[in-house]
Structures are given as structure tokens and as C-alpha cells.
């Protein structure tokens, strides 16, 4: 089953709405609560990044029996130095973003911690495409 959620740029009034809709769906599918929490933390951080740092994008979820793949695809401007961006505490977030409680530079490292497999395709001047994989079977 595939689900898509749109994420607009800069509009913090809807930050978390896409994640919230996804969470409702995951709960209906009877996925264990701890797995849901890991998925939601990762997806929410990625959603906030799209709003805070990009020109907007979408979240595409593929839900299967044994795994969930979630892609977060924006329309740019890309991340010039991914190693730096993955460093805890590194952030280019604006003052406005910080006042809202984000911009601690913990998002990408925390996304990595919570998914079973993460790939990030990005380049300065192009889009950022994050693919997160979550295994649903115990012990994997």
C-alpha cells in the first residue's frame, strides 16, 4: 500500500500534520508501538527539515507486510556537505526555526539512529531524497 503526503515549505503551522496522518494510519495497521515511535521520530524530523530547509516536498510511504519504506523527497536546494549535516549539533537553521524549538542540529543523526537502513541522495543545487527503511519483524 502506498500513501503520499505533501509538505509545504516554510509553513510551520502545518509542521507535523503529515507525520500525524501517517501515525494514525500506522496505528490502524496494528504495528507495535515502539516501532511506530521510531518511525514517527524519524519521519517527523525529516518533515520538519523539508519545511525548515527546503522549497517543499512530499513524503511517500510504502507499507508492506514485513517492512515500511518511507521516502522524503524535496525540490531543493540540496545539502552541500552531507558529512557535516550528519554531525550532531551542526545546523544552518534560522532564528525563527530555533524559536520554534527546532534547529538543534540533531535531526539527521536522530533519523539515522531510528531507522534500520538510511540512504540520502543530495547535492548542492539539487533536491534531497531521503529513503528510510523500517523492518517490522521482530529481531531484525
Amino acid at each position: 500500500m502506498r500513501q503520499e503526503y505533501l509538505v509545504p515549505a516554510q509553513d510551520f503551522s502545518v509542521a507535523g500534520v503529515a507525520s500525524s496522518n501517517l501515525k494514525r494510519l500506522l496505528k490502524q495497521l496494528n504495528i507495535n508501538p515502539f516501532t511506530i515511535k521510531r518511525i514517527m521520530v524519524a519521519v517527523f524530523e525529516a518533515e520538519v527539515n523539508v519545511i525548515a530547509h527546503s522549497y517543499g516536498g512530499r513524503i511517500v510511504c510504502d507499507l508492506e507486510e514485513e517492512e515500511i519504506t518511507i521516502q522524503v523527497i524535496d525540490t531543493g536546494p540540496g545539502i552541500p556537505n552531507l558529512d557535516l549535516a550528519m554531525t550532531e549539533g551542526w545546523s544552518t537553521a534560522s532564528e525563527q526555526v530555533r524559536e520554534l524549538g527546532y534547529g538543534a542540529g540533531m535531526g539527521l543523526p536522530n533519523i539515522k539512529k531510528n531507522c534500520d537502513h538510511l540512504t540520502i541522495q543530495t547535492k548542492a543545487g539539487e533536491h534531497t531524497h531521503i529513503t528510510m527503511l523500517f523492518c517490522l519483524k521482530e529481531g531484525e
Partner: protein, 114 residues
């Protein structure tokens, strides 16, 4: 510690979520940074924060946090209250600072997450 005892300890005012008053809260976590909160995967925690905006409620929702205590007399907006009600989250506030609130609750035996 029960939520009702937590509120009594810091002169807290419950704004919504009366059904949570008997909730057993295991640990407390104090931060104004939502990304910090999102690193906590433990269950049954109290979020103590000076960040009184919709983002605090959203973050609690994602982390399965059902008890939020706002400090520095930051009374929640109607939107926050509506969101908390819909998500079944208890929302309270106290006039005490983050430091004083945390110190009092710690002294009363509320455990830290780490």
C-alpha cells in the same frame, strides 16, 4: 509519581486531560529543544518545557508523551488546548522556572531519563 502529585508539588494548573491525573509518570525530561525531546524513546515520561507552542504538542504526539508541563507561566493557546484534547494529552502549567520545577520534582523522587 502520579500527575496529580506532580501538579501539587509545583503549584501546577491542569488545563486539559483530567483523565490523566492518576497517570503514573516514571521519568521527567526538561528541555526547550524539541529535537532533544525526540531523542527520548522511553515511555510514560513528563515533558517539562518552556516552549509553549503547537510544536511542543506535535513533538509529544510523535514521542507518545501524554503529559506536558509548561513552565515560566506560559499558558497554552486555545489551538494548543484543542490539539492536546484531540490527542488525549494532559496539558498543565506552572509559574515556576524550568530549573525550580525540575529541582522540586527531582527532590520528590521523579526520576530523570538519564
Amino acid at each position: 509519581m502520579k500527575l496529580k502529585d506532580i501538579l501539587a508539588c509545583v503549584d501546577g494548573v491542569l488545563v486539559c486531560g483530567e483523565s490523566h491525573l492518576e497517570d503514573e509518570v516514571k521519568r521527567g525530561f526538561a528541555s526547550d529543544l524539541m529535537s532533544d525531546v525526540l531523542t527520548i524513546l522511553e515511555d510514560d515520561i513528563l515533558l517539562i518545557t518552556g516552549l509553549s507552542n503547537n510544536q511542543a504538542i506535535r513533538t509529544a504526539e510523535m514521542s507518545d508523551i501524554s503529559n506536558i508541563l509548561l513552565v515560566r507561566n506560559k499558558k497554552p493557546s486555545q489551538t494548543m488546548i484543542d490539539m492536546a484534547n484531540e490527542l488525549n494529552i494532559a496539558l498543565a502549567y506552572t509559574s515556576y522556572s524550568l530549573f525550580k520545577t525540575s529541582g522540586l520534582l527531582f527532590a520528590q523522587g521523579l526520576k530523570p531519563v538519564y
